[in-house]
């Protein structure tokens, strides 16, 4: 299988391009089976030495990884180590923070996401996001789902689109008789599934999920996790979770982030990225091992 040559994209910023076949992690050479297997999949995102700062404070440093297509990639690690910052950089949601600055490159299908001619709105149309706390619009269930497709000009077959999205989010049976009711009357788990339905209704390429089940009870959490498995084939999914068991249950690849204090102020950084199985059973980095076996965090 030929590997798409992503280094042909414009190379700007301070990145020193690491060799394609090595995952950057301080002092560790990754030779696990997962690294080689990963080569066979097309990369949707490629991060090259990405750093994020808010004003003078550096929140994230030196992240390089590849997120494969049609798989679930989990970002795990203790709180405050930049997982959500990184996730939000993947659909340019951080742009609204005034002091946000990004160094390095994030390539999406080979295109530099932060290049001058990139349209933010187009980015978000292709890369959808579901947030930690369910945030349905104060509209009916139907209108919540139909709003974005209408904007995008998808006026034909709207009813079918709404139904398909709700089925895809495993919510259809519960709400099919009350589509006109206010979305705010749904339970927390239902609202979150509604937000997922809303996101998939416009058929994005990627779904970013920021701790989607953290505000939900265990039963709702389970339904969200099952949902992710079913969505995997159609979308590339990147999920941030502080619950490592969830990552173990759900993700194909896992990236472990943590705080690195070696350069002065603590700063989030990528420690290790590999197949989920490898991360949880044979992690290469001792810090990863400590985290997944519960010795800290």
């Amino acid at each position: 299988m030929t590997y798409p040559d992503s280094s042909q994209g414009p190379v700007e910023g301070s990145a020193a391009v690491p060799p394609r076949f090595r995952i950057q992690a301080p002092g560790v050479e990754s030779t696990g089976v997962g690294a080689r297997r990963e080569l066979g999949l097309e990369a949707v995102f490629e991060a090259r030495d990405v750093s994020v700062s808010y004003g003078a404070k550096k929140a994230l440093g030196g992240v390089s990884l590849r997120i494969p297509r049609s798989r679930i990639t989990a970002l795990i690690g203790p709180s405050g180590c930049g997982k959500t910052t990184f996730l939000r950089s993947l659909n340019r949601m951080n742009d609204s923070v005034p002091s946000f600055r990004i160094d390095g490159q994030i390539l999406y299908h080979g295109h530099d996401m932060y290049a001058g001619n990139v349209d933010q709105v187009e980015v978000r149309r292709r890369i959808g996001m579901v947030f930690q706390k369910p945030n349905p619009f104060p509209k009916s269930i139907y209108d919540n789902i139909a709003w974005a497709p209408r904007n995008l000009g998808m006026k034909a077959g709207l009813d079918e689109r709404v139904e398909k999205a709700l089925r895809g989010a495993a919510l259809w049976d519960e709400v099919k008789d009350r589509l006109k009711d206010s979305a705010l009357g749904l339970s927390g788990g239902q609202q979150q599934r509604l937000c997922i339905a809303r996101a998939i209704a416009i058929e994005p390429d990627v779904l970013l999920l920021d701790e989607p089940a953290s505000a939900l009870d265990p039963i709702a959490t389970k339904s969200i996790e099952e949902l992710m498995h079913s969505l995997k084939g159609r979308f590339t999914i990147v999920i941030v979770t502080h619950n490592m068991q969830q990552a173990a249950r759900v993700a194909d690849q896992t990236a472990f982030f943590s705080l690195d204090s070696s350069a002065g102020d603590p700063c989030g950084t990528l420690i290790e990225f590999d197949d989920t199985e490898t991360i949880f059973t044979r992690p290469a980095d001792p810090r990863t091992r400590d985290y997944v076996t519960g010795r800290f965090g």
């Binding site: 609204s96 709105v121 292709r126 959808g128 619009f137 904007n151 009357g185 996101a199 416009i202």
Partner: protein, 307 residues
């Protein structure tokens, strides 16, 4: 604690409660008293002219013939013009880029602090001539086929100029209320809309505005109330005309402005009561718009949607 001290304290509590209660009841009493007093003074005119007062356009103090028709018309027209302020104020607060919004908001509030007598004086000397020499001719030339934009008159004192001044006065009210409403829409709902690939306009129109519709309506009614009741600035620039004209560029008068203009010179028997009658009409309109604003603002609170 000694028994005497306890007694003293109970007395103190009762006293405090008592005077606070009295003060509060006084506030209610004042409103009622105002309505009563204004109506009472208007009685001679009310009993003489009845409801026909509302439609009659005759205003002849020397003959003791009075009618509010042209004044109600002038009030309606000039305030309707001020409704443009709604879109301007909304626009400013919701859609302008964040940096612009931050600088403009305090300045717009400053606009609200300028006394109406000064704004009106500025209107007489600066705005009216400008409108007369530049805006009225241009509007008449380009849109003269609409009867609203008739030929300019001798000076810029007109219903149009009064409407402009009222618009200037109402913008800060709408803008500041809209800004508060906008800030009340949770950030995460706006983020959710942005994350679905919607432009800024779509986010405001689709999510922010609907959440604040009733608040905007309430703000508009408050602004309208302000425009309806403005006496001084209007009387300075509207030209004290007594007839109804279709053209905005003619002189006119409003209820509040006529009261301010003629009260001190009212000598004939029914003149003052008729001015009070104008006050009654103004009072009714003002109370109704204020009550409507509160009722609407309360009924559709963003938070009410959630259970």
């Amino acid at each position: 604690m000694s028994a005497r001290r306890k007694q003293f304290d109970r007395l103190g509590d009762g006293l405090l409660y008592g005077i606070c209660l009295v003060a509060s009841l006084l506030s209610v009493a004042i409103i009622v008293w105002i309505a009563y007093q204004v109506t009472k003074e208007a009685m001679p005119s009310i009993s003489k002219f009845g409801l026909g007062f509302l439609t009659s356009q005759e205003w002849q103090p020397n003959f003791n013939v009075f009618g509010a028709g042209s004044l109600i018309y002038g009030t309606a027209v000039s305030s309707a013009m001020a409704l443009i302020a709604i879109s301007i104020g909304l626009y400013l607060s919701l859609l302008a880029p964040a940096g612009v919004r931050g600088i403009v908001a305090p300045l717009v509030e400053l606009l609200a602090a300028i006394p109406s007598v000064i704004l009106g004086f500025w209107g007489i000397l600066i705005l009216a001539p400008f409108v007369h020499e530049h805006i009225e001719p241009w509007l008449h030339d380009t849109l003269g086929f609409i009867p609203l934009f008739g030929p300019p008159q001798t000076t810029g004192a007109s219903v149009f100029t009064a409407g402009l001044i009222l618009t200037i006065m109402v913008i800060p009210i709408i803008a500041s209320i809209s800004r508060d409403l906008f800030l009340a829409v949770p950030r995460d709902v706006q983020d959710g809309a942005s994350a679905l690939g919607a432009t800024r306009w779509e986010v405001v129109r689709g999510v922010v505005l609907p959440s604040t519709t009733s608040g905007v309506v309430a703000a508009s009614l408050l602004g309208l109330g302000r425009a309806l009741g403005e006496a001084i600035a209007v009387t300075q620039v509207i030209g004290a005309g007594s007839e109804i004209h279709t053209s905005l560029f003619e002189t006119g008068d409003t209820l509040a402005s006529r009261i301010a203009n003629q009260f001190n010179g009212a000598v004939t028997e029914l003149h003052q009561p008729s001015l009070y009658y104008l006050g009654v009409i103004l009072l009714v309109i003002g109370l109704v718009s204020n009550l409507l604003a509160q009722w609407i603002g309360r009924r559709f609170d963003y938070r009410r949607f959630s259970k």
